[in-house]
Symmetry: C2
Subunit: 370 residues, 2 copies
């Protein structure tokens, strides 16, 4: 195997697939990146057996072949090379790879490409095209709400649901639920699958707000594939039944508050500081033309702040885990938000007032008032 | 105690003194910052009992007094407050502090100012004025070379030596030695003291390359004081006898190599990658019009690179701990450096060729050739 390519191209490809390399693994081959020639391109692959990423880069192929090199190490070396073309050459007999760039030459031990796991075959039973900017926003607005602990694996992923013309992402840890929905005329095939959050998070970093090519999403058996030009993310789906989330979204409210998102976020962040090491609880006192936010931690002290707001309906006093408010206020980009409440023991609903398109709803359980 | 001041001013003061707050401490009062009014200013103090920093900021004093608040917490709160004036008020009877900014109000438990350690009295037996830019450069060029382990405390600090018109900073861990020297007509008092590296490192962050006011350096008993307008660093000196470093600086050489600093640094960094987890050794092969740098790690592979250089004297082969080369090549800012050698078992000497003024010399022991 021999090829030549610009350092920058090679580095970009390595950085993309490296996202699938597991941080720790008992299988040494998974710490590597598979490099193989494919006509006039180089195919790079990495996988942690749950998520696989493959990427194709244009190279000048001198001799077809393949090899596996340790991912972090290879990326570090290529990153440090001068801005020149790289000559890459495998000596299969000696299990070595030679990398040349300018006057620098590395000779590295390689792993056997035959040991590298094959990515699953996917034939594409169902398929959708989604705008990059929209998908990126929907991932950001939902994935933070998944469950962190693994006791119920189906809550650690994000639901991908297509019904009629609606594409919906839903995440919940049972204390709060985030739902982002977009209407798209080309969505005709129904689906309801749970996608691992890591796959969406890593994919999201590659999506460009101005990216013109849509992402192709394909379901195939128990896998989902996200395809961009020259890049494919292939992830196992999470098994299990996602909760019937529609039931938990309140259909009515008694109090509606409209307020500035950034002012609300700032006040929540300040209230959270008080708690320092433990979870923070913030009490909201809603009435007149303002919302009073207060927090109290016995050993530390207390905080109080008033935010001007437009309030309709009943006065209300309710307390939330401050983290749950901060999380959603940070990912939204609307100038104002509404909060709908139905008394101190019922879930609150937060919605952006003037968002970036699409529907969004966030449901959050209150905590008992102290 | 009552005062009012702009958030930004208060935050700057807190961030300066916070550098002296110990990361961990068994004395809770040391995790705090002392705030006390001093005429129309606020004095802020923090100390870890080795280094103390005090800073004065202009405030509108309503009522004289003092208090102590937990440093990290206070800084976080002030950082998060909106860009407004802060009203600060101590309720000494209840041991509480009230901070108001806009519609936000915090009530915090305070610590007793009487428990806060007093900074040592310093009367200034010897005194020098040093240009900020020069002191910053000298600290950067030497402090990295101190010993990391505490078995010989006098090697963990930087020697501050004044003889005749020379001010000299020297640091060594016995494997390498860095010396930066500047000539200054106003230096008349002799001195030889060892300053803790932490003090110099934290001071250095405050020094501005274009800072016009010189730093006043004062020795007083077993303390050194660095004074900038409204800011004082007071540090204990390290006891012990610094090694007679002049003996280890070679007076002659047999081989002299002149080469581009950044090319040399890049090649050393690339060679170091190979070692990954352990210490890296790089072998230099000097002869003709180039320096060959090579590294070899049995389980990983090898690297080789040639750098063009101007060489006078004998050909030579010598090996160094790559880290020791990288450290010095990173802190120098000259375009080219010289390396003077006297065979494979004698220390090498690295000097900047066209530096920023002042004298600089770096002596580094070779390692046995493999």
């Amino acid at each position: 195997m021999k090829f030549t390519c610009p350092r920058e191209t090679f580095l970009q490809g390595l950085q993309i697939v490296q996202r699938a390399v597991p941080g720790k693994t008992t299988l040494p081959i998974l710490s590597g990146i598979l490099l193989e020639t494919a006509q006039d391109r180089l195919r790079l692959v990495a996988t942690d057996l749950e998520l696989g990423i493959e990427c194709f880069i244009p190279v000048q192929v001198g001799e077809a072949g393949s090899t596996v090199l340790e991912a972090r190490f290879l990326t570090d070396i290529v990153r440090k090379l001068p801005e020149l073309a790289i000559d890459f050459r495998v000596d299969a007999a000696r299990g070595q790879v030679e990398i040349r760039s300018g006057t620098a030459r590395y000779t590295l031990h390689a792993m056997a490409p035959a040991d590298f796991p094959t990515l699953p075959e996917t034939d594409g039973e169902k398929m959708w095209d989604v705008d990059q900017r929209t998908l990126r926003r929907m991932i950001r607005e939902t994935s933070f709400a998944v469950a962190a602990d693994e006791t119920r694996p189906f809550l650690t992923g994000v639901l991908w649901e297509v019904t009629g013309e609606q594409v919906r992402l839903v995440a919940t840890d049972t204390s709060r639920l985030a739902l982002a929905e977009v209407t798209s005329a080309n969505q005709v095939q129904q689906a309801q699958v749970i996608i691992p959050t890591k796959c969406l998070a890593e994919l999201s970093r590659l999506l460009e707000p101005g990216g013109e090519t849509p992402v192709r999403v394909t379901l195939s058996g128990n896998h989902v594939v996200f395809s961009l030009p020259e890049i494919r993310f292939i992830s196992r789906l999470i098994e299990g039944q996602f909760p019937s989330y529609q039931q938990v979204i309140p259909r009515s409210f008694k109090t509606k508050v409209e307020l500035d998102r950034e002012a609300f976020l700032g006040a929540a962040e300040r209230a959270a500081l008080l708690a320092r090491d433990g979870p923070s609880i913030v009490k909201a006192n809603i009435g007149g033309e303002s919302v009073g936010l207060s927090a109290y931690v016995p050993e530390v002290g207390q905080s109080e702040e008033r935010l001007s707001a437009t309030i309709t309906g009943d006065d209300c006093e309710i307390a939330f885990n401050t983290r749950f408010l901060i999380d959603v206020l940070r990912v939204l980009d609307s100038e104002r938000v509404t909060v709908e409440l139905t008394g101190r023991h019922s879930p609150g609903v937060i919605r952006p007032l003037d968002g970036d398109g699409g529907q969004y709803v966030y449901v959050v359980m209150p905590v008992m008032l102290r």
